[in-house]
């Protein structure tokens, strides 16, 4: 699997988690813009991020430091963050 395809799959899975955990309406994992700013555009706050982070930690087996939340601005950035943490874990 190419790296790009791997990221796209992560994005779809993360989109579904965000939709489920935050009970978002009128959006699917396929229509969720991976570059949409979650704070500036979707109104997600740090408690929402904490909720999502807990599920991501269980799903991927990586820890997400709360100090890193400001970096997790879009689905793509979250996916890249998780990929990096998985690579660190595997090294």
């Amino acid at each position: 699997m190419s790296e790009e395809k791997g990221i796209e799959q992560h994005i779809l899975r993360i989109a579904q988690i965000v939709i489920d955990e935050l009970r978002l309406e009128d959006v699917t994992k396929e229509t969720f813009d991976p570059d949409l700013d979650l704070v500036d555009e979707l109104g997600i706050d740090s408690m929402d991020l904490a909720t999502v982070a807990l599920v991501l930690q269980d799903e991927y087996g990586v820890s997400i430091d709360e100090d890193d939340y400001p970096k997790l601005k879009t689905l793509r950035l979250i996916a890249e963050y998780i990929r990096t943490r998985l690579q660190e874990k595997a090294a």
Partner: protein, 332 residues
Amino acid sequence: MQTVSSLLDSAWHERYRRISRLNIRSSIYDVTNRCNLRCKGCFFFSSGEHEAAADEEDIRQWESFIDREKARGVNMAILIGGEPTLFLDRVEAFYRRLPTYCATNGLIRVSRDRFPGMLVGISLWGDEDDEKALRGRDVFSVSRKNYEGDDHTYYLYTITPKQIGRTEKIIRKIADAGLKVHMQLLTNDEQVEGFHWTPEALRDVRAEMDAMLESYPRTVISCRYYHEIICTGMMMGRPFGWNECPSVTETMDDRDPRPKRLIRFIRWAADLKTTHRCCTSATRDCSICKDGAAHMSWVMVNKREHMRTTGDLQNWIEVYEMFAKLYGFIPW
């Protein structure tokens, strides 16, 4: 899907951006159990919280405690009591380490040489007659003289039912003194006769709060949505109460399901070990609580619920801005 830019024009969106990244992490600290007043209706004394734990008297313990709080992620210290200004060394320990807000009755003037930028909130319970009835003396006259013209001070005016129709006299005196004011409502913890809220009184006081904001926009730090929330006790069709309050000490919060709440919020007693349940007293009936900060926070933590319409989101922004001004995160 509703997005912020689909709801707001560019000017409102800029206001939203300015506050959405503030990431406020406040906690409340009882600086002391002692006070130089004994006010009827003060939850701290009426609930016995002043006897919950003895004051820690070693200033080095305070300093290391505050360092731990900072490491815990707290970026706003809200000092209450008792009367914090009775122990200015403790206040200074906070001020040197964290953005600090100090609640006081204003009888002791905080030196601006020692605390140049510290926000001071002076409690006020009404006009001279109310202050004498509830606090034993006319505290307003003293505090006004102590803080006249101070850029970092505002009155936290707790309006009582007896104040309806009389608030303007107070607001004008505050404006004339070059100070700001924020309004909240008395929660009659001690069941003082004549100080109960009725639905009619709440309706009238809401109209009066709106009128004061309209007439004194440079003096009154508030917004109409906050008035609606605190006077009706309702937000988005939901009643305020224990199941909704965001200002519960995180380590004591066993609610299930857990509502949206202030992250890392703890209210510490003056022994620096004991925690109190919430920002007011555990004996209070939450369904009639009128605490202003708790109601503001209730709105603030429920941001996405306010993303239904443009008006809802603008209301949320105004409440958040009000809170940010009151605690020094953005200028007046």
